[in-house]
C-alpha cells in the first residue's frame, strides 16, 4: 500500500488535532496548573479544557456595585456568602436594608 504526501499530511492533522480534540472532550487535556497525580487527583491544577466543569462558586456572576456599599465589603460578603450560605441566604443577608420586608 502506497501513501503520498497529501494523504500523510491528512493523517498527521487528523491524529494530532483529532487526538487533542478527543482528549479535550474527555477532559484529559490539561495545559495549565500544577502536576496531576495518578488517578486524576489534581494538585491545585486548573484545567485548560473548555469543557471542564467548574465548581459552583465560580459560576456565580459578579455582583454589580451598589450605592452605599463599598466594593471591598461586597467582595467580603460575596465570598463569605458563596462559601457558607445556602441558596438565597447570601442575598437576603447582604441586601437586608434595601429589600422590602416579606
Amino acid at each position: 500500500m502506497k501513501i503520498n504526501s497529501k494523504m500523510l499530511g491528512c493523517v498527521i492533522v487528523l491524529v494530532i488535532f483529532g487526538g487533542i480534540l478527543l482528549l479535550m472532550a474527555l477532559g484529559w487535556w490539561q495545559t495549565s496548573g500544577g502536576g496531576r497525580r495518578r488517578g486524576g487527583e489534581s494538585a491545585g491544577a486548573v484545567s485548560g479544557c473548555p469543557l471542564a466543569i467548574l465548581p459552583r462558586a465560580e459560576l456565580v456572576p459578579a455582583q454589580p456595585a451598589l450605592p452605599g456599599l463599598s466594593s471591598g465589603r461586597l467582595d467580603a460578603h460575596a465570598s463569605a456568602g458563596i462559601k457558607n450560605a445556602p441558596n438565597g441566604a447570601f442575598l437576603r443577608s447582604t441586601f437586608a436594608g434595601l429589600l422590602p420586608p416579606v
Binding site: I3, N4, I12, I16, G19, S32, G33, G35, V46, P50
Partner: protein, 283 residues
C-alpha cells in the same frame, strides 16, 4: 530550462509538508507570544492557559519515567505533553518520526535557514561538508544527550534540559527566563544550519533519538524499486537532509530518517513510482 521547470513543480508536490510545517510553527509562535501578552494584561483569553511546556512532547519523555516511579509529573510539565507524546508515538509506529519532519518548529526553522545555505553552496556541496566517517559517529551523539538528560532529570526531578534547549530559547528569547546556554546553543545551531541540514536533529536532539528508533519497527517505510531505478543521478541520496544513502537501499530503516519524502518520486527521484512511502510487499 525545461528541466528546471520540471524540478520546480516536482518540489512543489510536497506542499502539504511545507504547509503543515508553517502551520505548526505559526501555532507555537502564536501560543508563545500570547502567553507574553497575557502576562502583560492582554492577549487572547482562549489560549491563555497554553504554554510551550504543554506542547512539547519531549517534556513527556522527560516526565514519563518520573510519572511511572512517583505518579507525579515534573514541575512545569503538563498532562498534555504526555498525551501529545502518545499521539507522536502512534504516528511514529505507523510512519516513522514524522513529528520531526512535518511538525517540529525547530526543525522547520533549521530547514528555512538551510535553504539559504543550499542557495549559496549548491545542492551537491551543501550538507556534505563533514567527512562521512566522522558524520556517522557524530550521529550517535544524540543518544548520549538523551541518556544525559534523562539521568539529570530523574536525579533532580526538574526540567534540567530547559537551560540547554534551543526549542525553548527559540520561542522565549524575548523573555528573561531563557538561560544564556540555551541561547548560545540556538545561535550555534542556526549558524551550522547554513552548512549542514538540520544539525540539531542530526547530532543532538534527544527527542529525535527516541523517535528515530521507531524507524526500526515502522509499518510504512521509504522503499526503492531497484528495477526502475536509473542508478545515475542519485538524486535521492543527494537530496536526503539526513544524508541517508537511499540509492543503495531497497527499504530505508535508518534511525535518522524523518519521512520528509524529499527522496521520493513525488519530489527528488526523477522516475515515477521508484522511491515511495508504503508498506513492505510480502514475499
Amino acid at each position: 530550462m525545461k528541466l528546471l521547470r520540471k524540478q520546480f513543480w516536482r518540489k512543489r508536490r510536497l506542499w502539504p509538508r511545507y504547509a503543515l510545517q508553517f502551520l505548526f510553527f505559526s501555532l507555537v509562535a502564536l501560543f508563545s507570544l500570547n502567553q507574553t501578552l497575557v502576562q502583560n494584561g492582554g492577549g487572547l483569553p482562549f489560549f491563555q492557559n497554553i504554554s510551550l511546556h504543554a506542547l512539547c512532547p519531549f517534556g513527556g519523555v522527560e516526565t514519563l519515567a518520573h510519572l511511572l516511579i512517583t505518579g507525579t509529573l515534573l514541575q512545569k510539565v503538563r498532562v498534555s505533553a504526555v498525551f501529545l507524546l502518545e499521539l507522536v508515538f502512534i504516528l511514529a509506529v505507523l510512519f516513522g518520526p514524522v513529528f520531526c519532519g512535518w511538525v517540529c518548529p525547530l526543525g522547520t526553522v533549521q530547514e528555512w535557514v538551510g535553504k539559504m545555505g543550499r542557495h549559496w553552496f549548491g545542492t551537491r556541496r551543501y550538507n556534505h561538508f563533514i567527512p562521512r566517517r566522522l558524520d556517522v559517529i557524530l550521529r550517535y551523539a544524540r543518544y548520549l544527550v538523551l541518556t544525559w538528560v534523562l539521568y539529570l532529570t530523574l536525579r533532580s526531578a526538574s526540567l534540567v534540559f530547559q537551560d540547554y534547549d534551543p526549542y525553548f530559547a527559540l520561542f522565549h528569547f524575548w523573555r528573561g527566563e531563557v538561560a544564556p546556554t540555551a541561547l548560545l546553543i540556538l545561535e550555534i545551531t542556526l549558524f551550522l544550519a547554513l552548512f549542514v541540514e538540520r544539525p540539531w536533529c542530526k547530532y543532538a536532539c534527544p527527542l529525535g533519538a527516541v523517535l528515530g528508533l521507531s524507524n526500526l519497527i515502522r509499518i510504512f517505510t521509504i522503499q526503492r524499486r531497484a528495477g526502475t531505478c536509473l542508478q545515475k543521478g542519485e538524486a535521492c541520496t543527494t537530496l536526503c537532509p539526513m544524508n541517508i544513502p537511499v540509492s543503495q537501499k531497497t527499504v530505508v530503516r535508518d534511525h535518522q530518517c524523518l519521512t520528509c519524502l524529499e527522496c521520493t518520486s513525488e519530489a527528488g527521484c526523477p522516475v515515477s513510482g521508484t522511491v515511495f512511502l508504503g508498506t513492505e510487499a510480502r514475499p
